[in-house]
């Protein structure tokens, strides 16, 4: 199938960078090493693949894993009408990933959201501030160890 050909090609092109390649439920997915991101992304953006759109960029917290966070990128190729999912693991003690703002402008706010909610930092991001929470907010609310009912009101509450 088409999916398997692109996965095979990527594995051959980046034998060290691509850790795993599969197509669960027909969705092409590659798992890469964190430091290979800036190598693989420009390759995917150029011909013949032309993944011109960054559909989404998000993060998942797996507290039980050794490398706690998993970044997930969803790319879309308008030319080939094809999607690709890229995953990479990020350890908590060095939660820094290379920024993709120079490739896609929409990565700017998406990365700010991930930074706000998970505390993952992005090297090379032009303006890494919180996006949703207020500036005085302590912690990162979508981390699994953030207390469910912890409140940080901006004004003193009546009761």
């Amino acid at each position: 199938m088409e999916e398997t050909t692109i996965l095979e090609a990527l594995k051959r092109r980046f034998p060290k960078g691509v850790v795993d390649a599969s197509a669960p439920l027909g969705d092409a997915t590659i798992v890469i090493r964190k430091d290979a991101l800036l190598e693989i992304i420009p390759f995917l953006k150029e011909k013949p693949y032309e993944f011109a759109m960054l559909l989404d960029l998000t993060c998942v917290d797996y507290p039980e894993r050794a490398e706690r966070f998993e970044m997930v990128y969803h790319l879309f190729s308008l030319a080939a009408n094809r999607r690709l999912r890229i995953k990479l693991s990020v350890p908590e003690d060095a939660a820094v990933v290379d920024s993709l703002v120079r490739f896609w402008k929409n990565a700017d706010w998406l990365e700010r959201e991930v930074f706000d909610m998970f505390g993952v930092r992005f090297a090379g991001h032009p303006d890494l501030r919180r996006l949703f929470m207020n500036d005085g907010f302590v912690g990162h609310p979508l981390r699994k160890d953030y207390p469910l009912r912890k409140r940080q009101p901006m004004i003193p509450l009546r009761k």
Binding site: F132, M133, P141, Y146, R151, P153, I155, L157, R158, K159
Partner: protein, 158 residues
């Protein structure tokens, strides 16, 4: 005794006047707004109860309708809007989110607007039916009629 008669009648008259001339300010933040619109427009028509005037300025209104989810970031805004309204003023919490935070029991949402401002009437429901809104409005009118009216100009003189 004559003086008392006049005072109680005046109190009742002020209440009557106030309960049938509620100018409301809709603080609409979420999907309950659709239900607010249907309650406010021709089908259910809150104008029948004298609350037809929607004022989009808190300074000209005396009924604050908090319609929808209030996040922690919006709480200071809601407090400012409430503070800008002139006395006498009343507040209706419209829908489950405004009443208690609703399904949003999380870091971002105020668990009931009564944590931020005093509330007179709570209308539950996700979203409440227009009939419930009308019921809440009538209950508020009862409340206004029964309370001792704030007779501000007299208070200041005495």
């Amino acid at each position: 005794m004559q003086g008392n008669f006049i005072t109680t009648r005046l109190n009742a008259m002020l209440g009557w006047g106030r309960k049938y001339s509620l100018f409301h300010y809709p603080f609409v933040t979420a999907c309950c707004g659709m239900e607010y619109m249907s309650a406010a427009c021709a089908h259910f028509d809150i104008d029948r109860f004298g609350a037809g005037w929607t004022r989009f300025s808190p300074r000209q209104s005396d009924l604050l309708l908090v319609v929808g989810t209030i996040s922690q970031k919006q709480a200071p805004v809601l407090r400012t809007v409430y503070d800008q309204m002139t006395e006498p003023k009343w507040v209706i919490a419209f829908g489950a989110c405004a009443v208690s935070g609703g399904i949003y029991d999380n870091y971002a949402v105020v668990q009931g607007v009564d944590q931020v401002i005093p509330v007179d009437i709570f209308i539950p429901g996700c979203p409440p039916q227009p009939e419930m809104v009308l019921d809440g409005l009538i209950k508020l009118q009862d409340k206004i009629q029964k309370t001792k009216q704030d007779w501000r100009w007299k208070k200041q003189r005495s």
